[in-house]
């Protein structure tokens, strides 16, 4: 019985390791896919808006923004002792809209107000370097200037509406809510919700699938409503400035830079053009490549560890079979002698004991599969190094940024024992049983029949 337990554990380990390796490879593939799709998505957004110049205030959008927002991956403001966001908030006065709008070549200026809700939640993020608990706003309020020409021409509102309708010109006292926030509250279209003390009606639910989970918790509403409830009357946090054509973008940029040089130098306002965003994307891509390389090298490491461990497990399994069968053969010398005395050939005695070893190992294999099916994630977690895209440098986490951590979280696959692995394991059990019992069975077949005569 004890033997079966030991054997099945050794086989369970043998099964869990490949399951773990496959899971790690899957994680890396998921990571690659997530990062690539993020890049492609962002690139599409950038290419769609070559005439767009973004003016964002420093409070801007730590976590959120309209679909065109590029700053989804803030690069500062976090430390490992808990995440704290201590940057001072800064808002532009709406008069800026007029000032910028009067620059020659500017077609439209779309104002936004993005502000965090006063409610916060405690959240734990699991990363390869440990768990991080952080407090962050429950959701983001985005005020949008609901001018129908803006809505029609530019991407100012979410596009993927899963229930109800999108916002439209003239909407007031209503809001658009993200899918996960509506799930969080358990409310849907038509319900009344309280935002910073004011009651709103939910007219639609949007889903920003594809973007990382940190960004999708938000509400969209009329700009004036947003200003009122956040106590920012007359203030905006971001302007989307559209040039008449691509050729005038640089001229406009230069003018804005000179008009607001103080604010820009103080990092209260940041301005980004198509070219800036493209450059930003490229630096992001470089960072992602680094992450992927790290992940792949850890997978390679994992595989070499796995190979070693599998060899040990294989050896252990066949050694256990060997010793058990040697013991059995010794115990049953008289029986073997009897069999030979009554006319069993060497070969039939040998195959009898081989069969016994195989059955023993097979039984253990079945139990081992049972253990592995339940325990593979734990066993492979204990036995294999985790995929770590940040390499050994913990600072990698900081440069990696929040967005990456979030997309990593969804890319981690856990070890699963597939039917293929089960079949392979049974095959291995048969083989190991045969290998392990080969010598004992041979010993048995060499037993002299006269041993049967010995008295106990």
């Amino acid at each position: 019985m004890l033997v079966i337990v030991a054997l099945s554990f050794s086989l369970a380990i043998m099964i869990s390791i490949p399951a773990g390796v496959i899971a790690n490879q899957e994680s890396t593939q998921n990571l690659t896919r997530n990062l690539n799709s993020t890049i492609i998505e962002t690139e599409q957004q950038i290419n769609q808006s070559t005439t767009l110049i973004e003016c964002t205030t420093s409070t801007g959008s730590m976590f959120s923004g309209p679909p065109s927002d590029m700053s989804g991956f803030p690069s500062s403001g976090m430390n490992r002792s808990g995440f704290s966001f201590t940057r001072e908030e800064f808002y532009m006065n709406e008069s800026v809209v007029g000032n910028i709008g009067s620059i020659a070549g500017v077609k439209d200026v779309v104002p936004f107000l993005v502000k965090s809700s006063s409610e916060t939640t405690q959240e734990t993020i699991t990363t390869p370097m440990g768990d991080f608990t952080m407090s962050r706003p429950l959701y983001t309020i985005t005020g949008v200037c609901l001018n129908s020409s803006f809505i029609d021409e530019y991407s100012v509102l979410p596009t993927n509406i899963t229930a109800g309708r999108n916002l439209r010109e003239g909407d007031s006292g209503v809001l658009l809510m993200s899918l996960n926030l509506s799930k969080y509250y358990g409310i849907g279209v038509g319900n009344e919700v309280d935002v910073n003390g004011t009651s709103f009606t939910v007219v639609g639910i949007y889903d920003q699938a594809g973007q990382n989970s940190m960004e999708t918790r938000g509400v969209y509403m009329n700009l004036t409503d947003a200003q009122t409830i956040t106590n920012e009357i007359g203030n905006v946090s971001r302007l989307d400035l559209y040039a008449e054509n691509v050729s005038v973008v640089d001229t406009i940029n230069t003018q804005i830079q000179s008009m607001y040089s103080n604010e820009i130098n103080a990092r209260e306002i940041s301005v980004s053009t198509y070219a800036d965003r493209l450059a930003n994307l490229q630096s992001q891509q470089t960072r992602y490549t680094e992450l992927l390389n790290n992940a792949e090298s850890t997978v390679a490491q994992t595989q070499s560890v796995a190979t070693q461990e599998i060899i040990v497990a294989l050896a252990a399994t066949s050694l256990i079979v060997l010793f058990v069968m040697l013991y059995t053969v010794r115990e049953r010398t008289k029986e073997i002698g009897t069999l030979k005395a009554i006319g069993f050939s060497n070969w039939s005695v040998m195959s009898q004991f081989m069969l016994e070893g195989v059955i023993l190992s097979l039984a253990a294999g079945v139990v081992g599969i049972g253990i592995a099916t339940v325990g593979a994630p734990i066993l492979s977690g204990v036995l294999l190094p985790a995929v770590n895209p940040f390499g050994s440098r913990s600072t990698g986490f900081q440069t990696g940024g929040l967005g990456t951590v979030a997309s990593l979280g969804s890319s981690t696959a856990s070890a699963v024992v597939t039917p293929t692995i089960m079949l392979l394991a049974l095959g291995a059990a048969v083989l190991l049983g045969a290998v392990g019992s080969l010598y004992p069975a041979w010993r048995a077949s060499r037993t002299r029949p006269a041993e049967a005569m010995r008295y106990e």
Partner: protein, 264 residues
């Protein structure tokens, strides 16, 4: 059995067996000549160390003689390689052991079937024969019992049935009553005697129990690896259906003599 038939089933010619123990040589059998005829019931007796077990091993093809010839049912087995010997053991010899040597995890019936495994006999026929043999040794109804559920005497009777499974030319029994009480001892000896009378089975018993040996027809006394003495046993008289004590007529299955009431 007519005494006119004196065909040798087993014959040894100058069989010698030497064991080497370190530097010392032990001569267990020396130039031993022996003949057992078909249908005979023979006992080999002798003090311990006289070479009884060695002789039985050599006769049973469990061990090879150092020199000399062993002819079993017309085949010189002393020259055969192990690859052939197991067939001789399976087809021509039936073994009975002192400690019964039944396989504990098999039923009585399966134990009897065991020697028939690896033979051409079909499975159902093997089972059929095993049941018949168990009936012959008086164990009908106990076919499916495991050895530990059977008494010592019953176990030895299963072993006798097993020894007869392949209709061997000779049955070799090594102290078959050594582990039995008096009652069972008598039953087993009587069973062997009856098999010899009724079925003509050739039986060689090795025993140091003179009471057991006296029930055979010929007793060979082994001493220092040679046959030192030969005696007639009671069985010879019994075979002639005559009470060995009072000379009155008896039946083969009688337990006691009908006239003098002595145990046969």
């Amino acid at each position: 059995m007519s005494e006119a038939v004196t065909e040798a089933v087993l014959k040894t010619e100058k069989v010698t067996k030497v064991y080497t123990m370190g530097k010392r040589e032990v001569r267990a059998l020396s130039d031993l000549n022996l003949q057992v005829n078909r249908g005979e019931f023979v006992a080999i007796m002798g003090p311990s160390g006289s070479g009884k077990t060695t002789l039985l091993n050599v006769l049973g093809c469990l061990d090879k003689p150092t020199a000399g010839k062993v002819v079993l049912d017309g085949v010189d087995v002393s020259k055969l390689p192990e690859g052939e010997l197991y067939k001789i053991r399976r087809n021509k010899i039936g073994f009975i052991f002192q400690t019964f040597n039944l396989l504990p995890y098999l039923s009585a019936c399966e134990n009897v079937e065991l020697p028939m495994e690896n033979t051409k006999r079909p499975k159902n026929e093997r089972r059929q024969r095993a049941r018949e043999l168990l009936k012959l040794v008086g164990l009908s109804g106990r076919e499916d019992h495991r050895p530990q559920k059977l008494s010592a005497g019953e176990q030895q009777r299963v072993a006798i049935a097993r020894a007869m499974a392949n209709d061997p030319a000779i049955i070799l029994a090594d102290e078959p009553t050594g582990n039995l009480d008096t009652q069972n001892k008598h039953e087993v000896v009587r069973l062997l005697a009856n098999l010899n009378i009724n079925r003509g089975t050739t039986i060689v018993i090795v025993s140091h129990d003179s009471q057991v040996a006296s029930h055979t027809e010929r007793m060979l006394l082994l001493k220092d690896g040679r046959i030192a003495k030969e005696k007639q046993g009671l069985h010879l008289v019994k075979k002639k259906l005559m009470c060995p004590y009072c000379g009155s007529k008896i039946q083969p299955n009688d337990e006691k003599c009908p006239s003098c009431k002595k145990r046969l």
